[in-house]
Amino acid sequence: MFQPTDLQALAITFKLAAYSTILLLILGAPLAWWLANSKSKLRPVVEALVALPLVLPPTVLGFYLLIALSPNGFLGQSLEFLGLPGLAFTFPGLVLGSVIYSLPFVVQPLRNAFFALGRRPLEVSATLGAGQMASFYYVVLPMTRLGFLSAAVLGFAHTLGEFGVVLMIGGNIPGETQVVSIAIYEHVEALAYAEAHLMAGLLLGISFLVLLLVNLLNRRHSLVGSQ
């Protein structure tokens, strides 16, 4: 059965995915809005930057983050200057890495949802007296809620499967920064296949269920949208 460190790894993994998803929704929504509506010349550049984690090996991303977060790195120095603790090999450091790593999985569904929404609903709500905040809360959010749901689920699921970035910047500290994917790797290294099977199967099942959920939601889109 599960060993205590495995349960800890599971807890850390889900906590990491939850924190990252919440942060990603908060940061990703304005970014996705800008990408969907801006006519700026910078837009393709930002779009490419956001999509970078899709193609980059996670180790590359993790490597640069590690350099930046190190006591001599740009982020490490800034944190030290502000009197804050360093982030390398800590849980908050993992959250930062996950946010960057899963950014495209949250921003792209949101951008597509905002793009499909178009300007008209906002123009209608403005002429009916709704300011920007009211329009976002009463029009944009309900009309794109499936986009938000897809973004949240994809961001969450993708963070669950994170390996390379975590390994590079989080190390492998059981109970602190050891996540499921790394625990599996450890088990395999130790030839403990039964334990590896258990956790790998669990992750497989959860990931499949999550993606199934997204697909079912997308199929029901029109139905849900009409209520």
Binding site: R120, P121, E123, V124, S125, A126, T127, L128, G129, A130, G131, A134, S135, Y138, V139, P142, M143, G225, S226, Q227
Partner: protein, 357 residues
Amino acid sequence: MIVIRSTLQLSDFKLDIDIELPGRGVTVVFGPSGCGKTSLLRTVSGLEPRAIGRLTINGQIWQDHATGRWLPAHQRGAGFVFQQPGLFPHLSVLGNLLFGQRRRGAGQLDQSAVINTLELDHLMDRPVTELSGGEQQRVALGRALLSNPRLLLLDEPLAALDAHSKYKLIPLIENALQLLDIPALYVTHSSDELVRLADHVALMENGKVTATGPVLEVFSNLDNPIANVDDSFSVLRGAGVGEQSPGLEAVCTDRGNLFYVPQGSVAGVHQVRLKVQARDVSLTLEKPIKTSILNILPAIVEEVSNPSSLGNCTVKLDLNGDKLLARISDFSRQQLGVEPGLHLFAQVKAVALLQSN
């Protein structure tokens, strides 16, 4: 009083407006597609932040470039009915109707008055996405009316509807516009909608307003290009006076001219507008007898336009105060010796009736 002095430079088009319109009643903005009618409404509503100029609506300054004042759209109180209804699919019919009221507070209008006037009561329980185009547009109009607006903007609200829905919706719009004592700008390129709804008209062409004035005057003013084309028309106002002869009713205009119309068309209707195509009016120097044409009225030539490139000209006739246009060939004009002051008879072959309640 509505004062609009605005310019808006779009990539391939420039809107350049300098007009004053009455502060009440319906002003129909009339012009061909692409002449900038929609851009004008968007500028007034605050949906075009690039527009510069000055905009005052019944004393309220919505924009003044000189002082940097620019009221954002949601603070203007310009109810906007778009060509596509744009209902919020996540809200019920009632939720849509009350959306503006919840943001801007309740206005002079009672919710039930709007629901009754626009015949929305049986729609209240249906999802908005299952409503027909005409039904959706009625909800959109009700939503704008209930948002406590200071000005109502309607951008070809009937253009996306089939003929039957249009026919049903026009009287409802007419009634709804009378619910509120606020001015309305109604954009259309349909002359029937115009004749039916307009108190006042602003004619647009190539991003500019070429003429404004009361609907009964604008179209008969030969200075306006629209009075000097082959589909020029005149607008007359009158009341139904019931059966005159067996099978024949009549409309008596404000100036006492009697126009015969088919039976059953004006019984009990207080206010009627007549649209007479200028090409359906022919001129004769002597009163014809033994003719199938019913409406033959004595008239005096007031003005004659220059002939167009096709060799037609417009003759403006005075019928005891009513103004009527006749479109005839320049050849006929010369043959008859038509010139200002000449007494003759106008034979009106067809009259379109557009009724009000």
